[in-house]
Symmetry: C2
Subunit: 193 residues, 2 copies
């Protein structure tokens, strides 16, 4: 059964994706959900609380799926390419399964430091970054010349992955399996290879 709460969240993620959290009014979310304001405030307490609930559900889930994909060595000892492919695959799969959330996530990646958005999104952004950085730190144990560069690797890996997701969401790109394999290959061995 679809609860009122779920319906509000679904309407909200769609509205936030297309017009942005700040530009969407609570009144409008209520009308689109077929409810009234006190109902929304009963469930979420505030507009910021609504965003927090949305992120807890979807960003939390996304981070979990990425963490599973990025586990290293996990059962893939030495297979960094396989881990990175699974990781970027998690980004792309999320964009296919939940494009609205992925749009909200991307638009929150560089949100202003004194915004409500930032306060809510920051822990999830840091968790994602930490997960990827940890993968590269583990890999450095097996590939000595990677040592001490995990932060730089994580930043560029997430940056490139999000750029691909952004192009896909804009309809400019279809990142199929071959595309992702090439992306990982370039990342590990350079653009000439």
């Amino acid at each position: 059964m679809e609860t009122t709460r779920d319906r509000i969240l679904e309407v909200a993620v769609g509205a936030f994706a297309s017009r942005g959290y700040e530009a969407v009014g609570v009144q409008e979310l209520c009308e689109s959900s077929g409810i009234t304001k006190p109902t929304l405030y009963y469930h979420f307490g505030s507009k910021e609380g609504l965003l927090a609930a949305l992120f807890a559900e979807r960003f939390g889930g996304f981070n979990g799926r990425v963490a599973t994909a990025a586990a290293y060595p996990g059962n893939r000892r030495g297979d960094l390419a396989g881990v990175l492919l699974a990781t970027i695959g998690a980004f792309v799969e999320e964009a296919r399964d939940d494009p609205d959330f992925s749009r909200v996530r991307l638009s929150s990646a560089f949100c202003p430091p004194s915004s409500e958005r930032y306060r809510v999104a920051r822990p999830y952004l840091e968790a994602l970054y930490g997960t990827i950085a940890a993968t590269f730190e583990s890999a450095a144990l097996e590939h000595g010349n990677m040592a001490g560069r995990a932060a730089q690797y994580a930043a560029s890996f997430i940056g490139a992955s999000d750029a691909y997701v952004g192009l896909y969401l804009a309809g400019d790109l279809d990142p199929d399996e071959a595309f992702l394999r090439r992306a990982v290959h370039y990342y590990m061995h350079g653009i000439f290879s």
Copy 2:
């Protein structure tokens, strides 16, 4: 002499950087600038016009500097590494010289498709992307195995560069010359090298 118009723009970029375009009110910008609303509307016509003027000045300038750095072959025939270093250097230098604008630029990189921000920022974002893609297309003429991949290269290069800029602006990173050289080296030859 600092004109009223310039002062408004300076106040606006600072406010947009820290709290976001949508969350900043026109009234507040006027008070911070020491003027009143009709003066702002005399110069810019609307809030969106103010953002457009800001982007015309700063995003236009930034894109020009990137285009200069990314010119290929230019006088650097065959020196793709040098061109990419100059290009990522332009990103980082911009962040140092005009951190507020760079914050606004980053926060507009993935802004919602039905927002005012998107309408204003889109041409500049596309111009930037086109510039970088053109560089990789030119490089492919000399490095045959790069052919047909310019879009993918451009996306990942801009994505990684913006990720570095974002970390710098958050105070988590100091991208000095050595860092940037490593970044370009990884990009061209892979993370193991």
